[in-house]
Every structure is written in structure tokens, then in C-alpha cells.
Amino acid sequence: MVPIRYNVRNLLVRRTTTMAAALGVGLVVFVLAASLMLNEGLARTLDQSGSADTAIVLRKGSDSEMPSSVEDKAISLIKVAPGVKSSSDGQPLVLGEVVVVLFQDLANGKGKSNATLRGMPLDRVQVFRPEVKIIEGRMAAPGTDEVVVGARVVGRFKGFEIGQSLDLRKARPVKVVGIFEANGSSFESEVWGDIEYVRSAFGREAVVSSVRVKLESPAVFDGFEVAVERDKQLGLEVLAEPDFYRKQSENTSIFIIAMGTLIAVFFSIGAMIGAMITMYGSVAHRKREIGVLRALGFSRSAIMFSFLLESVLLALLGASLGTLASLGMGLVKFSMLNFTTFSEITFQFTATPEIILRSIIFGGVMGVLGGFLPAIRAARTAPIEAMKG
């Protein structure tokens, strides 16, 4: 086998062309890694919003809380379904919430966007979402026009700072009294207020968007589901909360991955051509060297492997740079429309060891594909080239 140091040093000697080709590969890997990190960030944000022992009940056929509508009388029936956990005072742990969209001015003045407003019994927040912490100000008082704002949308929309007010509808202002965190979940992209105030503002009295139910354990979910869905007149659908959030991210996830992959594939064709030109140049420049190696007795396959390896090393250098650059994206917050709820969700690029590995492997594959034809040309070099002047 031709020693690897031969390839490494050749790459170092031709450092300008090596870097140019490596950066081409790096750019592609950056795009791919960033889209995978974006998807992971979205999935993680939504996954963290769900708890395995919580079921969510929606109107059958609704793919999100927004278009769903569950009447208050249905909540009474849900409360007596099997498997529902009760609090220490014997009250069933069932929470009706109303979810609506606020079309708000962006704080940067560049138009408007949708924010999610969730109306809920504010005194039950800690029971269902113990991870929620007020990080500034205080919790909104039940039965008032006060709201608290998720940490990720503070500063994103006009009126979302403590002490400011915003209009839910005409002549329906609310005051921001606190900012909360919810363990990085999608709740941090929402505004929370009192359920009755929100229902009244939006004319949705006696209905909620969704009902959350604390179960005795995740194991009783099937029984609860059957009991609630059995009554066809109610027309309800039951989902485990993690499944619900996974479905919420499906469309957006498909969009992110499709866009990322499409861009990466188009870019990769360019980068592979770049790597191929570099390697062809290298083979042409080293024709006599290759002839010498062949004359000394190195086989065609050894030469081919050596040049393929060189191309892969070049690509791996680029892939490492691209992946490293993409890790910097972890510091960036990203807001985009959730294609299921049509409201903004804010999340971060999230790197995982699997994403890093996949990105680097992708770069390596580009090296193999881009280096294949030049490696064949190198392997076809006749040993007699060593004797030419």
C-alpha cells in the first residue's frame, strides 16, 4: 500500500487548491448539518412539550389544537373515564384549554406574524406543567386580563415585554406581567392567559380547543382512549401527548429536511465536480510520480486506493470544517411557522453526535464519488511514464 503520509503531504503541498476544494465540500456539509440540526431542534422542542402520562383530547379530525373544538359538557364525561388520575383532594386532573392565534406586529417592524395564545385555568399550571418557571415578573392572576409570555418570543413581537400591553382583539387589551421558561419546549413560544378572559375575547364560551388529562400511568392510555373514542356522538380523538407533538412537527420537519437535502444535493454536485477537478489536476501533475510507483511494483489497485483515499481525506477535511461551522449555528435562535398550527415556533439548531457523524460520512461519500474517476485515471497510468523526460 502507498503510505498515507504520501497523500497527506501532497494535500498539504497543494494547500491552496486543497483548501478551495475542501471549502466547497465544507459548504455542502454545512448546509446539510444545519438542516439536520434545525430539524432536531424542532423535534426536541416539540418532544419536550409532551409528557408520556398525559393524554390530549381533540375534536376528531383535527390535526392541531387550533381548529379543534371540545364542548365543556364533554369535559365532564372525560373526567369519569377510566385511568384518569385524581389530585389529593379527589379532583380529576383534567385541563381544558383554548388555543387561538394572535396576528401581531413584529418587534423589528418588518411586518406581522402569528403567535399562539393559550387560555387556561392559571391555578392549574404547576399540576400539568411542573417544569414551567417564571424567570421574570410574576404569574398572571386567574380571572384577570394578565398574561405571561414565553421566553423565546420576548422581543420577537411588539408588546411582549413586561409592563407592556397588547390587544387580543379590539378593545380587549391584556397586560404582560411575567416571562416564563418551560424546559426549552414549544410552550416558550406562546402567550398564556386566563381561560375565561380568552374565551370571552374570542367568543368561544363553553368550548375549549383541547383537553389534557393526567393518567394514572402511561400503561392505562389504551383503556382511556377506547372509553373516550367509543362514544361516537362526542366525536373525540385521544392522543398521547408525545405522539401529538411528534405529529405537530411532521409537516415542518418534512419541509426542513426536503429543503436541506435538496440544497445539499445540488451543492454537492458542484462540490464533487470541484473535488474531481482538483484530483484530476493532481493526477496530471504527478503522472511521473505515479509511473515511478507503478515501476517500483505498486499495483493498479494500490494506486487507485491511494488516490481515492486522498480524495476522501480532502473531503473529510472539508466535512470537518463544514460540521464545525454548523456547530456555531447552535447559538442561533430560529423562528419559523409551524405548518400544522400556522403560528410561529422558536427553536435552536441542535447538534447531536449522530448528526455530526452523518454529516462527516456524507462528506466522505462525496470524496469517494468525486475521486473515483481521477483515481481510475491514476491507476491506468503506465509504469513507463516513469522513464519519460
Binding site: Y6, N10, L12, R288, L293, L296, G297, S299, A386, M387
Partner: protein
């Protein structure tokens, strides 16, 4: 150089050959009716024309002739870098004219040492690493390879330059590294194509002296193509080639 002088030199070298060990030893290179043709446009060009040649084991032979006479072509065939169009070529007991590409590569790695006109060292490798290259095709371990490469560099007097890259060496030193690379795997035959062609007289003499030593002390069969009469003078046999035939 006049024709008479060249002729006299040929006779002198031939005479030298007759009283050396050449006559006593069996041939290591046997060419029988070797033809090597190339096609230029639609015209066939016979660079070697039914050439017969025997070279005895342990001899140091120089091959001279005008440009285009076929000397490098013959050297390439004997070294297993090329195949004849017809005829048989047996080198070190193996009929190389009938071998496949992979087998020929293996055979070259065991039997032939190359000394090139342009030295042909790998520029990104040190002298030691260049010399070690042929040993990478053997089953020797890393430390043994290094040891042997150091010995080869010691033989050519460049032990103190082993960690230098080719561009840090003079032309003469580069060619000596090339010779160390040619002998490190202990081949039976060394083929040298214009080994002094790129060197000044002093460096050329050093290289020729080394080749003489390899022939006499290490019993290497050396076949050298040269235009340099002073180089040819060092050989035990001088052969002249013209228009694809030995004179």
C-alpha cells in the same frame, strides 16, 4: 566524439567483457527475436527489429546509440515496464513477455532496481521514506524496513541526509538516494536510464563509482543506457544499438 573513437571504445569494452566473469556465468537476460512496434498514424514503426541479446549475470553493461535507436525501449522491455510486440524475453529465469500486468508489477518489485535520469524521487517524502518505498511491497515490518533503508543510504554515503526532502539535496545526492532506492530490496538487476544525464562531472563520477561498487561488491547485474562515453567506459561491456538492431 568521432566514429573511429566510438568504435575503438566499443572494441575496448568488448575486450574487457571477454576477460571478466561474463564469459563464465549464465545469462540472466535473454532476448530472442524481440520486436517492438509502435503505430504513428497508419504507419508501423519497428523500434526494435528481431533483436537477439544475452546478458550474463553479474555483468555491468552499457547500451549506447543515437536518439531513436531503441535503447530506452529495450531497457523498458527488460525492466518489465513494457511488453514486446513479438519474440520472447526471459529475465532472471522468468519469461516476462508472457506475464500479466499484476504479475509483472510483483515481479518488478522483486527483481528490478531502477535508476532514473531525472532521479524521480517522490518530492513529499524524505530520503529515507523514498528509499523505503520498494520495501512496502514486502512483508517486512516497519522497523526492519527503516533499518534496511538506513543501510542502503549508508552504502551510498547519505546516512546524514536521510531526513532531508529531495529539494534539500543536490542533484548528485538525489541520484545517490535513487540508487539506494534501487538496491534496498536487493534486486538481481539494476536498470539505469541515463543515470548521469542530469549531473555535473564530479557528481556523475561519484554515481558511476557507486554503480561499479554495486556490480563488483554486491554482484548486481547492471544495464545502463547512456550517451556519456565516460559513463560507458566504466561498464564491462558496451553494446551499440542503431535502428533497432545491435551492432
Amino acid at each position: 566524439m568521432s566514429e573511429e573513437a566510438t568504435s575503438a571504445e566499443t572494441s575496448k569494452a568488448s575486450a574487457k567483457a571477454s576477460d571478466t566473469t561474463t564469459a563464465k556465468r549464465s545469462p540472466i537476460i535473454v532476448c530472442r527475436k524481440i520486436v517492438r512496434s509502435f503505430w504513428r498514424a497508419k504507419e508501423r514503426l519497428d523500434v526494435l527489429d528481431e533483436l537477439d541479446l544475452e546478458i550474463a549475470e553479474g555483468s555491468f553493461e552499457a547500451l549506447m546509440g543515437p536518439s531513436g535507436s531503441g535503447k530506452t525501449t529495450l531497457l523498458n522491455l527488460i525492466a518489465g515496464l513494457d511488453r514486446p510486440t513479438s519474440g520472447t524475453l526471459t529475465v532472471a529465469g522468468t519469461e516476462v513477455s508472457a506475464m500479466g500486468d499484476a504479475a509483472l508489477a510483483r515481479w518488478r518489485s522483486q527483481t528490478i532496481g531502477f535508476v532514473f535520469q531525472h532521479f524521480n524521487l517522490i518530492p513529499v517524502l524524505t530520503a529515507l521514506e523514498n528509499v523505503e518505498l520498494p520495501l512496502l511491497l514486502t512483508s517486512l515490518g516497519s522497523s526492519e524496513r527503516k533499518k534496511r533503508a538506513q543501510i542502503a543510504l549508508r552504502v551510498v554515503g547519505l546516512e546524514d541526509r536521510m531526513h532531508h526532502r529531495p529539494q534539500q539535496l543536490s542533484g548528485g545526492q538525489e541520484q545517490r538516494v535513487g540508487i539506494a532506492r534501487a538496491i534496498v530490496h536487493d534486486p538481481k538487476i539494476i536498470v539505469a536510464d541515463e543515470p548521469t544525464g542530469e549531473l555535473d562531472r564530479k557528481s556523475a563520477d561519484e554515481v558511476l563509482h557507486l554503480l561499479e561498487r554495486l556490480n563488483k561488491e554486491f554482484d548486481k547485474t547492471i544495464l545502463m543506457v547512456t550517451h556519456d562515453p565516460a559513463a560507458a567506459e566504466r561498464a564491462t561491456v558496451l553494446r551499440k544499438l542503431d535502428k533497432g538492431k545491435l551492432l
